[in-house]
Symmetry: C2
Subunit: 126 residues, 2 copies
């Protein structure tokens, strides 16, 4: 099985930085594709495709205005992300950072400097 489609849910749609950028621009108000192309500085077909993904997960709404199509942000679609990640909010508070450090210290003591041997140091860069 391949990776889930980007149109599966908001999580997948928003994993692409360009799509987040599009939403950031739209946060400033309704915009035609034209301006999004300019703002992002990438090819127009690519913008249209990103917009399609955002449309399919409901992150944007479209409105026809003459030969232009005005895109508008729909924040509701991001709520699941906010709800999920909010459960982890506070884990990076100072108090938790300290706890983390303590646990890291305990780990170091237990492993007695023999750490990172099995994993080949491929652990996260800090």
């Amino acid at each position: 099985m391949a990776r889930a489609a980007t149109t599966t849910d908001a999580f997948n749609a928003v994993a692409e930085p360009r799509r987040r950028q599009i939403l950031d621009v739209l946060a400033g108000g309704e915009r035609p594709v034209n301006e999004l192309v300019e703002a992002l500085g990438i090819a127009q077909p690519l913008v249209s495709k990103h917009l399609r993904v955002l449309r399919e997960v409901g992150a944007v709404h479209v409105r026809d205005e003459g030969r232009r199509r005005l895109y508008r942000l729909n924040g509701r679609a991001l709520k699941p992300i906010h709800d999920w990640v909010s459960r982890y909010e506070g884990l990076w508070s100072e108090r938790f950072e300290l706890l983390d450090d303590v646990l890291d210290d305990l780990k170091k003591e237990e492993d007695d400097g023999d750490d990172e041997q099995r994993d080949g140091g491929r652990d996260a860069p800090h």
Copy 2:
């Protein structure tokens, strides 16, 4: 170019539901791979692979304990997600929902029932 690697950042790592599930379990405290396999009900190699991705983006820390490896959540890695999505918090408040409805009504009036013709009704199911 293909899609960005899942190890590129937390956004991509967390787009996979199973990896969110793993983090959810780890939110309850340090766990060996064993228990994660049980909790998720999927094959062990798959869990190890997901854990590797989470390790590479720094979302989890590992600690060796005998022949087991204890994984621990590192909430800090999720902060960028929280920071980004929080800028959209409130867009789904009641007041904004109402504004949205008003805008949708305006759209309907403008298009005069001729909407969804070009898009073939392929818009997101709201």
